[in-house]
C-alpha cells in the first residue's frame, strides 16, 4: 500500500475566481504578518526579531530602573534613603538587577537582532528552525516576566538571612530563571544552526559578515555556558524542594551559585556580538569593506574562548584555602590569564579596526549608529581595562609571595579592588557597551528589521543621552571602588556599609553615586527615545526597499557591504 502525505488535486476544495500562483503563495508565507493575531502566532524571523527587540529594550529599561533604585540607596551610605523595606529586599533587587539586565535585556536584544538580520546577511529566506525560534522567544518572555514577578513576591535568588524570603517564591524565581536560560539556549541554537546550515553555497565560515561571525562565536559560548547555569539552578531548586535546604538552597546561596555569570570572564561573553556590530557599522560608515578579514575572525574567536566563564564558579571557593590560596577561583592563574588575555584581544581588535578605518581614506558618514558604535567600543575598552584591575591583586600576588614587604600599600589597594564596587562597575560597563552596540545595530539594520529607517534627529539625541549616561553610570562605581566602596554595600539588617571607616572620602564617594544616578537616568531617557523611535517606525508604513538600505551597498555583482570579503583577490 502506498501512503501519501498530501491530498490529491481532486480532494482540494475548489474555489471560483483566479487561483494564486505558487510564487504568490510562497511570498504570502514569507511576508511578516501585521495584524495582532498574526504577530503573536508568527514564526517569521523578522517578526520574532522585532518582538525580541521591543521586549528586551523594555526589560533593559526595567533593569536600569532597578539600578536607579539601588543608586538612590547608595546616595547615603551611612543609613540609606529607605527606598527598600529591609536589606533582604535590597539584596533581592541586587540579584534581579543582574539577571534582568543580562538575561532579560542584553542577550535577548542581541538574539533578536540576529534573528531578524542574519537570514538576510546569509541571503536565505528564514532561520533554520522558525517555529523553534518562535518557541524560544515566548519561552524566554514568559520566563522573564515570571522571574520578575516571583522576585517581587518576596522571592528572588535567596535572601541575606535564612527564611527572610518566601520559599515558594524563591523556588519560582529559580525555576523561571531556568526557563529564561532554556529560551535563550534554544534561541542560540537556532541562530547557530542557521549560520551552519543556511549559508549560501560558496560562503565558508570564515567568509561570513562580521556580525554573523560574532554571533556564531557568541552563540557557541552561550550554548556551552547556559546549560551550566541551568544545572546550577536545578541543583539549587532541588535542594530547596527538600524539607530543609542543605547547601545550594540556603539563604543567599542560590545567587552566589550563579554569580559567575555576572563576573569576569563570563560577563564579556554576553556582550560578544558587539565586536561584529561595531566592525560592520564603523567600516560601512567609511563606505568601505573589511580588509584583512582573517585576523578579525581569529580575534573574535579568541575573545569567545577567553570569555567562557562557566568554570570560574567562586561559590566553591574553599572556606579555608591553602597557603597559596589555590582553591580560590580569583587567585587561580587561569583566571588572571583569561582577564589579561581579553584585554590583549580587545587591543588587537582596536588595531584591526583602526587599520580598516585609516585605509578606507574616506571621511565617515556621521550617523546615530556611528556614534553609538564608537561609544560602545570605548566602553568595552574601558571595561576590559577595569577587568585587568579586577584581577590585578591576584596577578601581583605572585610578586608578594616572593617578598611580602614589597609595596604593601599598593598591593593591599589592588587586593581590595576585587571586593569593591569596581566589580559592579565593570559589569555595568560591559552591559552598557553591549546595549549601545545593540542599539547601533538597530539603527544600522533598521530597514531590514523594521522596514524603514529610524528618525535621525531622535537618534542623535538618544546617542547623547545613552553615551553620556553610560559614561557617568559606568565609571562612578569603578571610581568608588578605588575609594573602597564595597560591592555589597549592605549588610544583614542594616543599609549602612559594613565598615564605613574603611571607605575613604565618604562624602566624595556619595557624590560619585549622585553622578551615577544622573547617568542611569540619562541612559533610561536614551533608551526611552530608542523605543519611541522604533515604535514610530513600526506604526508608519514601510518606505524603503533594499536598494535604499544603507547597510546594503550592492555594487552590481550581487555583493553587499555585509559580505565579509569583496570577492576580489584576498
Amino acid at each position: 500500500m502506498t501512503i501519501v502525505d498530501t491530498r490529491s488535486e481532486t480532494e482540494l476544495p475548489q474555489t471560483s475566481g483566479p487561483q494564486p500562483s505558487q510564487a504568490q503563495l510562497v511570498v504570502s508565507e514569507l511576508t511578516p504578518s501585521t495584524d495582532l493575531a498574526g504577530i503573536l502566532s508568527s514564526s517569521h524571523h523578522q517578526v520574532i526579531g522585532r518582538l525580541y527587540v521591543l521586549c528586551a529594550l523594555g526589560l533593559s529599561g526595567l533593569g536600569l530602573g532597578l539600578g536607579l533604585l539601588m543608586n538612590l540607596e547608595k546616595v547615603d551610605l551611612d543609613a540609606g534613603l529607605g527606598i527598600f523595606g529591609n536589606t533582604n529586599e535590597l539584596f533581592q533587587v541586587f540579584a534581579l538587577y543582574r539577571t534582568t539586565l543580562i538575561m532579560c535585556g542584553l542577550v535577548p536584544l542581541l538574539l533578536g537582532l540576529a534573528t531578524a538580520v542574519i537570514p538576510k546577511q546569509l541571503r536565505t529566506v528564514t532561520v533554520a528552525y522558525p517555529r523553534a525560534a518562535a518557541a524560544a522567544f515566548w519561552t524566554w518572555l514568559i520566563g522573564a516576566i515570571t522571574h520578575i514577578v516571583a522576585t517581587f513576591s518576596y522571592g528572588g535568588l535567596g535572601s541575606l538571612q535564612a527564611g527572610a524570603a518566601r520559599e515558594q517564591s524563591v523556588e519560582l524565581t529559580l525555576l523561571s530563571l531556568g526557563v529564561v536560560a532554556l529560551g535563550l539556549l534554544v534561541g542560540s541554537g537556532v541562530i547557530l544552526a542557521t549560520l551552519i546550515t543556511q549559508r549560501p553555497a560558496g560562503m565558508d565560515l570564515l567568509q561570513m559578515p562580521a556580525f554573523s561571525w560574532s554571533m556564531m562565536v557568541a552563540t557557541t559560548v552561550w550554548l556551552f555556558s547556559l546549560p551550566v547555569l541551568l544545572a546550577n539552578l536545578v541543583i539549587s531548586w532541588v535542594d530547596m524542594r527538600g524539607a530543609t535546604a542543605l547547601r545550594f538552597g540556603t539563604a543567599d546561596a542560590p545567587f552566589e551559585h550563579v554569580a559567575w555569570a555576572f563576573d569576569v570572564p563570563q560577563v564579556y561573553a554576553w556582550a560578544l556580538p558587539l565586536l561584529g556590530i561595531v566592525a560592520e557599522v564603523l567600516i560601512s560608515a567609511h563606505r568601505s569593506r573589511p580588509k584583512l578579514f582573517e585576523p578579525m575572525v581569529f580575534i573574535v574567536g579568541a575573545f569567545g574562548f577567553l570569555s567562557f566563564g562557566a568554570w570560574a564558579q567562586s561559590f566553591f571557593d574553599s572556606a579555608e584555602p591553602s597557603a597559596l590560596d589555590a582553591h580560590v577561583v580569583s587567585n587561580e592563574v587561569v583566571f588572571v590569564v583569561f582577564a589579561l588575555g581579553i584585554a590583549g584581544v580587545v587591543l588587537a581588535f582596536g588595531i584591526w579596526l583602526a587599520f580598516n578605518v585609516v585605509s578606507a581614506e574616506q571621511r565617515p558618514i556621521i550617523s546615530p549608529q556611528f556614534g553609538l558604535a564608537v561609544l560602545s567600543g570605548a566602553l568595552l575598552t574601558a571595561a576590559v581595562t577595569v577587568g585587568v584591575l579586577r584581577v590585578a591583586g591576584s596577578a601581583l600576588g605572585v610578586l608578594r609571595e616572593a617578598d611580602s614587604n614589597l609595596w604593601p600599600g599598593f598591593f593591599d589597594a589592588m587586593d581590595d579592588l576585587a571586593g569593591s564596587s569596581l566589580v559592579t562597575g565593570m559589569m555595568n560597563l560591559v552591559v552598557l557597551a553591549g546595549l549601545l552596540a545593540a542599539v547601533a545595530g538597530i539603527f544600522h539594520w533598521a530597514p531590514r528589521l523594521l522596514g524603514r529607517r529610524l528618525n535621525a534627529s531622535l537618534g542623535f539625541l538618544a546617542v547623547v543621552m545613552l553615551g553620556g549616561g553610560a559614561m557617568l553610570y559606568g565609571f562612578t562605581d569603578v571610581l568608588g571602588g578605588f575609594f573602597d566602596q564595597p560591592d555589597r554595600f549592605f549588610v544583614v539588617g542594616s543599609f549602612a556599609v559594613a565598615n564605613l571607616d574603611a571607605v575613604d572620602a565618604l562624602g566624595f564617594v556619595e557624590a560619585l553615586n549622585v553622578i551615577g544616578l544622573v547617568g542611569v537616568v540619562a541612559v533610561l531617557g536614551g533608551l526611552a527615545l530608542v523605543v519611541l523611535n522604533v515604535v514610530m517606525s513600526l506604526v508608519s508604513p514601510a518606505d524603503l526597499d533594499v536598494a535604499d538600505d544603507p547597510s546594503v551597498v550592492d555594487d552590481g555583482d550581487g555583493l553587499t557591504a555585509d559580505m565579509s570579503v569583496d570577492g576580489q583577490e584576498r
Binding site: T2, I3, D5, R123, T124, A128, Y129, A132, L185, G189, L192, A193, I196, T197, Q198, R199, P200, A201, G202, M203, D204, Q207, L223, F224, S225, L226, P227, V228, L229, L230, A231, N232, V234, I235, V238, D239, R241, G242, A243, T244, L246, R247, F248, A310, W311, Q313, F316, S318, D557, G558, L559, M563, V565, G567, Q568, E569, R570
Partner: protein
C-alpha cells in the same frame, strides 16, 4: 585568484542540508554541558566532603553496584542496536530498522526500570544529605534524557512507517542516534563517578 564565489542568485538560493542533524548535535552539546555542570558540582562537593570528614555517601545508604552495572551494559548494548537501526535505514531495510529500533527502545526502557528499582533499594533519602540530593538530581536528569531520546526515536520510526523509502529519513535516524549515544556516554560517567567511585 578569487577563492570564493558568492552573490549569484542561484548559489545564494541553495540551502545547506542536514539541518536536523546539525540541530540535534547542538542540542546534544547543550545537554552534555548541562551534565558537565552537574558532575562538576558533584565531584567538587564529594572531594570537599571526603577531605573534611572522609564520608560522602551517608552511612545508612546501601548503594550496590549490581543494578548500575547491569544498566551500564544494557546502555552499551544499545549502541550496537542503534547503529543497526542507522545501518538498516541507510539501506532502506524497513523490517530490520523497526526491529532494531524496538530492541533499542526496550534497552532504554529497561534502564529506566532498573534505575527506578535501584531507587527503592538504596535507602538514600533525598533531602537528608548533599550526596543524596546531587545523586538524585543527576540520575533523574538522566532518566529525563532517556525519555527524550526514546520519544525522538519513536518519532523517527513513526515517520519511517509513513513513507516508502525510509532511506530518505537517514539524517533523522542519524540525529536520533547521536542523541542516543550521548545518553549512553552520560550513563557511563554516572556509573563511574557515582556508583563505582561512590
Amino acid at each position: 585568484m578569487a577563492d570564493m564565489v558568492v552573490g549569484t542568485s542561484m548559489a545564494a538560493s541553495l540551502p545547506r542540508q542536514r539541518t536536523l542533524l546539525v540541530g540535534t548535535v547542538l542540542a546534544t552539546a547543550g545537554t552534555l554541558m548541562y551534565f558537565v555542570g552537574l558532575f562538576g558540582v558533584y565531584l567538587r562537593e564529594r572531594a570537599e566532603a571526603l577531605g573534611r570528614s572522609g564520608d560522602w555517601i551517608p552511612s545508612g545508604a546501601d548503594i550496590q553496584l549490581a543494578q548500575p552495572t547491569l544498566a551500564a551494559w544494557t546502555m552499551m548494548m544499545s549502541v550496537v542496536t542503534m547503529q543497526w537501526v542507522v545501518y538498516s535505514v541507510a539501506r532502506n531495510d524497513r523490517t530490520h530498522a523497526i526491529i532494531a529500533a524496538g530492541v533499542t527502545a526496550m534497552f532504554g526502557v529497561s534502564v529506566i526500570i532498573t534505575t527506578s528499582f535501584q531507587y527503592t533499594q538504596m535507602g538514600l533519602v533525598a533531602d537528608e544529605s548533599l550526596a543524596a540530593t546531587l545523586i538524585y538530581t543527576i540520575s533523574a536528569s538522566h532518566l529525563a534524557m532517556i525519555t527524550v531520546a526514546l520519544v525522538f526515536l519513536g518519532i523517527m520510526v513513526f515517520r519511517a512507517l509513513a513513507g516508502n523509502h525510509i532511506s530518505h529519513q537517514t539524517d533523522g535516524f542519524v540525529a536520533a542516534s547521536v542523541f542516543w549515544y550521548a545518553v549512553v556516554v552520560v550513563y557511563v560517567v554516572i556509573w563511574t563517578a557515582i556508583f563505582v567511585l561512590k
